[in-house]
Symmetry: C2
Subunit: 209 residues, 2 copies
Amino acid sequence: MIFSSKLIEDAVNEFSKLPGIGRKTALRMVLQLLRMETEKVDGFTNAVSKMRHEIVFCEDCHNVSDGPKCDICTNPGRNRNQVCVVETIRDVIAIESTQQYSGLYHVLGGILSPLDGIGPDQLNIGTLVARVKASGIDEVIMAISPTIEGDTTSYYISRQFAGSDIRITTIARGIAFGGELEYADEMTLARSIAKRLPIENYVSVQSRQ
Amino acid sequence: MIFSSKLIEDAVNEFSKLPGIGRKTALRMVLQLLRMETEKVDGFTNAVSKMRHEIVFCEDCHNVSDGPKCDICTNPGRNRNQVCVVETIRDVIAIESTQQYSGLYHVLGGILSPLDGIGPDQLNIGTLVARVKASGIDEVIMAISPTIEGDTTSYYISRQFAGSDIRITTIARGIAFGGELEYADEMTLARSIAKRLPIENYVSVQSRQ
């Protein structure tokens, strides 16, 4: 693409660096910003700049935070006996958006992946163990993707609590809502039969939604 | 979506205002910016802010410009006898990117649309007529979308030059490269037969690409 304006070109180049944004989409965004009032564009750039400069990570759970401790860790209404272990902050947002969980979180910052050089020391596992031991947490919920690396990570973490009274659980695996049985992989289908639930559980989940 | 950080939420809200960006895509961009170095994010916000604050419109052709006259109008290498009339600055970028045109442009800022209250006075038509009369321009190329409003606009503009020696042309219409005849609409197909070209023309365009 050839631009007659360096200002437009620079802005398009910057937008193109974002994930999934090609040059045509970037141009569409830039032309939209060009049509917007100056104050609104300032609002956009200020929000982005402020977000990047002021955001910190919660010293307890490693979630993104506006202060030293995040809104979830400081919320007196949350259940302080449960901690949900997730891979990234995106998982926190996903679980929070379901409005089905009222406990605390712990963001690992990744999963064990020896091929990528990510071992237990690269993840927030040590702080999890220390945090659980120092507090009244009695259940650690593993909400890690059910891949080989994810299962390895869940297993590794559960071993850290071996011999203690901490209950280690994992999110349910099975056929997704709206999913069709014939397209489910054998492993998922097999586990969903082996770990079948009384139908009342299913009905109660539905009615809570 | 529920965010535990107001900073993230504000940034996601701002991105969601851009065209074609839903909240999930906005979140992906914000998390990407969060992973980027602070300097790179500053580069992004500065480019956007500078673009919006410093861009002006060329006083000759109404294209976006970094100064009072745009890079195309001030380029001594351009053919000053041709002016290509387009609807928006996006069309200028599209035509420039083909690298097939070396003349000047004139951006109308829209097309005639009585239903939307857009008449000749809302468009940059007066400046086009004055510009053509005051300069050595001898060809006005209409590069307007072939819709009813577009054709009306082309016709209206061509009438402004009635009785003068100015040559008024329009971009070729026909079957798009790679298009299939059976899916072409009747009007396009009929015109492409009526306005058929010697095959040498077609070959020479191909070899220039």
